[in-house]
């Protein structure tokens, strides 16, 4: 568990904003702005955050679908940050991706058979019993009828399509799978089926997952370790139970308290304990100085505007629990009553 499969240092991705005929660069969207994190072999690393926090861009950098503008990505000890498409081809065997939208991530003109066999053909993987047999085995593995290899994506439901995407990702027997919101487009009952499937496959094939999602409950269920992102930065990372029991960063606290509890009896308490953030996430083109969360943080002081807090172990946390905050939240701290509006009687 302790060996690092993937390591990133100072990872940055800035998308240029250009203007005029000559595409003069006038600024940059700093989607990912300096991330250090590692993915250990065999674990599931959850990556959570709200839209625009850079979690998807991070996933795409991990798979090198995108090239970083700064920092390094090391996979199994090898620097892959700036490799060319041809140089990356061997890497594709080991790192695969599952996408969010099961409708746009499958080519509607290709049969399921050709979608799932494409990686095998591109990589010249020998299939001793024939390509068709290999595809049928994969279909069976993800719980689809192997007879359906000749059908087209539109003949399947959303959940079944997501299974096709998973079969395609599994075809090359990768070591690492980056799953970008793999269940958020699915109905609740189907979501749970796919989560269970991912669990089973991980056990069977010793897979390592990076699970990107905005749903904190699903991330908690599936992850061993969780990293919370805000505006292009990792603000907190810890072992799963540690993070959910003792969230340190005010943003993590706010995020967790905002999740609706499916229990009407506890409704009043949940509402009272809720930290309501005001305003919107600032623009990643021009992020706030110092700590990026300070503009929405109830604990912010002068130092937060001038000095960026490093991602380090705070208070009496274990070494695996890192927080980037000058004033981390302590246990039993009265975070309630931070609601700008009056609390309900």
């Amino acid at each position: 568990m302790s060996e690092n499969l993937l390591e990133v240092k100072g990872l940055e991705k800035h998308f240029p904003i250009t203007k005029g005929l000559f595409k003069r660069q006038v600024g940059a969207v700093r989607a990912v702005d300096g991330i250090d994190i590692e993915v250990k072999a065999g674990e599931t690393l959850g990556l959570v955050g709200e839209s625009g926090c850079g979690k998807s861009t991070t996933g795409r950098l991990f798979t090198r679908i995108l090239e970083p503008t700064g920092g390094t990505i090391t996979f199994e000890g090898e620097d892959i940050s700036h490799k060319s498409v041809t140089q990356l081809r061997p890497l594709r065997r080991d790192v695969q991706m599952i996408f969010q939208d099961p409708y746009s991530s499958l080519n509607p003109r290709h049969t399921v058979g050709s979608i799932i066999s494409a990686p095998l053909q591109i990589q010249n993987i020998p299939t001793p019993q024939g390509l068709k047999k290999a595809v049928q085995e994969l279909l069976e593995l993800v719980g689809l009828n192997p007879e359906h290899y000749n059908r087209y994506p539109h003949e399947f439901s959303g959940g079944q399509r997501q299974r096709i995407g998973i079969a395609r990702a599994l075809a090359l027997r990768p070591k690492l799978i980056i799953a970008d919101e793999p269940v958020s487009a699915l109905d609740v009952s189907i979501q749970a089926q796919v989560v269970n499937l991912l669990d089973d496959l991980q056990r069977e094939f010793d897979l390592t997952y990076v699970f990107i999602a905005h749903d904190l409950s699903v991330v908690r269920h599936i992850s061993d370790r969780v990293a919370v992102m805000y505006l292009g930065k990792v603000v907190e990372v810890a072992e799963r139970d540690d993070l959910y029991r003792n969230p340190r960063h005010p943003y993590t606290v706010a995020l967790m308290s905002a999740v609706p509890v499916p229990d009407p009896v506890r409704r009043d308490r949940a509402q009272r304990d809720r930290v309501l953030l005001t305003g919107d996430v600032p623009s990643p083109i021009n992020p706030p100085s110092g700590c990026r969360f300070r503009t929405r943080c109830w604990k912010a002081q002068d130092i937060c505007a001038t000095e960026e807090p490093p991602l380090v172990t705070r208070l009496d946390d274990p070494a695996s629990h890192l927080t980037a905050c000058h004033f981390p939240v302590v246990e039993d701290e009265a975070v309630a009553g931070r609601r700008p509006a009056a609390t309900p009687a």
Binding site: E50, V188, I190, A192, H221, P262, D263, P264, V265, Q271
Partner: protein, 346 residues
């Protein structure tokens, strides 16, 4: 205030509502025999997966199927002693946007990209208050934008929908829906497209505004957490039918239908210990063109056939006092299964 208050009839009463669509592939039975009611100041949560008929029910209340020639609506919809299914288009148009209003899931497509947000709110107001001049209507719109928590409302009045962030856009749409003080507000997945922190803000806003205006709210969502936050009563829909209904506390604490058990078992919860595995409903929702015979849920139900073949042949009726359920399992057996097999795994 309303005539309905002195009458026995509830503020909103829906009786045996059926909605069918004729398509090239066959007849889509989107809603079958839906019956429920709602009082002012109360919130009804309608839960279900895609294709369960929850949105179609609400669109039928607003009369939005009238323009579709392939839609057939039957049954009765009583809003404050007015029957809407048999009403004329003109009567319904007067109510829509006035006495009853709707918040949609995606505010970007529900708002016109070509007109400023302010002018759209002004229009919504003046349609129902023809005598009002532009200046008064503008003030009213700015007041509404301020009420839903949009900063600098005078300036934002002149902005277009695309210049708003997702949360602000949803607020603007709520402002538009509330500009005529609707007595009935229907919110169809109002927070599904939003981040959790923004969702919390919007749910808070809807709750505060409901207290202020005393409207009746129908909250349609697939998220059981959202329902638990807001609803007084809950309807669970499956395959176009109401399969369970009751006070929110009862439905969440002692759910009666195996499908409701499945929904609750499907979702990981932050307020519980982590389970090893989730317990989803097997299979996938039925096609509304070819609904299974008998109980529509029977192909996915682990308990179908326990009491003979009735599940496969006979449609279960919605039975019970306050907490109703449509299931063939005898009540004692259901309670036993829930206590022994379902509850320990939730």
């Amino acid at each position: 205030m309303s005539i309905g208050a002195t009458n026995a009839r509830p503020f909103l009463e829906i009786k045996d509502l059926n909605v069918r669509f004729e398509t090239d592939d066959g007849i889509v039975q989107a809603v079958t025999g839906s019956t429920f009611s709602l009082e002012k100041g109360k919130t009804l949560g309608i839960v279900g997966e895609s294709g369960s008929g929850k949105s179609v029910t609400s669109l039928a209340v607003l009369g939005l199927h009238r323009t579709r020639s392939n839609a057939k609506v039957s049954g009765e919809i009583w809003l404050d002693d007015e029957e809407l299914v048999s009403a004329t288009d003109e009567q319904v148009r007067k109510l829509r946007g006035g006495k009853m209003a709707m918040i949609f899931q995606d505010p970007l497509s529900a708002m016109h990209p070509y007109f400023t947000v302010g002018s759209q709110i002004v229009e919504a107001y003046r349609v129902h208050n023809p005598g009002v001049n532009k200046k008064v209507a503008r003030e009213r719109a700015i007041d509404m934008l301020a009420r839903v928590g949009i900063p600098q409302p005078e300036r934002r009045f002149n902005d277009y929908a695309h210049q708003f962030s997702g949360g602000m856009r949803q607020r603007a749409m709520i402002a538009m829906a509330l500009v005529n003080d609707p007595a009935l507000l229907i919110a169809d997945e109002p927070t599904t497209a939003l981040d959790v922190t923004v969702q919390a803000q919007i749910l808070d806003l809807i709750r505060d505004l409901q207290e202020e205006f005393g409207s009746a709210v129908i909250m349609i969502t697939h998220d059981l957490g959202v329902v638990a936050e807001l609803a007084d009563d809950v309807l669970v829909m499956y395959g176009g039918k109401v399969i369970e209904k009751g006070p929110a506390v009862d439905v969440f604490q002692q759910p009666q239908h195996p499908y409701t058990w499945g929904l609750l078992g499907s979702m990981p919860r932050l307020d519980r210990e982590v389970r090893d595995r989730l317990n989803p409903v097997k299979g996938s929702p039925p096609s509304l063109i070819n609904l299974p015979n008998g109980c529509a849920f029977h192909p996915r139900c682990p308990y179908a056939g326990r009491n003979g073949d009735r599940s496969f042949t006979e449609v279960p009726e919605l039975r019970g006092d306050i907490h109703k359920v449509a299931c063939h399992l005898p009540a004692e057996e259901r309670t036993k299964i829930f206590q022994q097999e379902v509850l320990p795994n939730l």
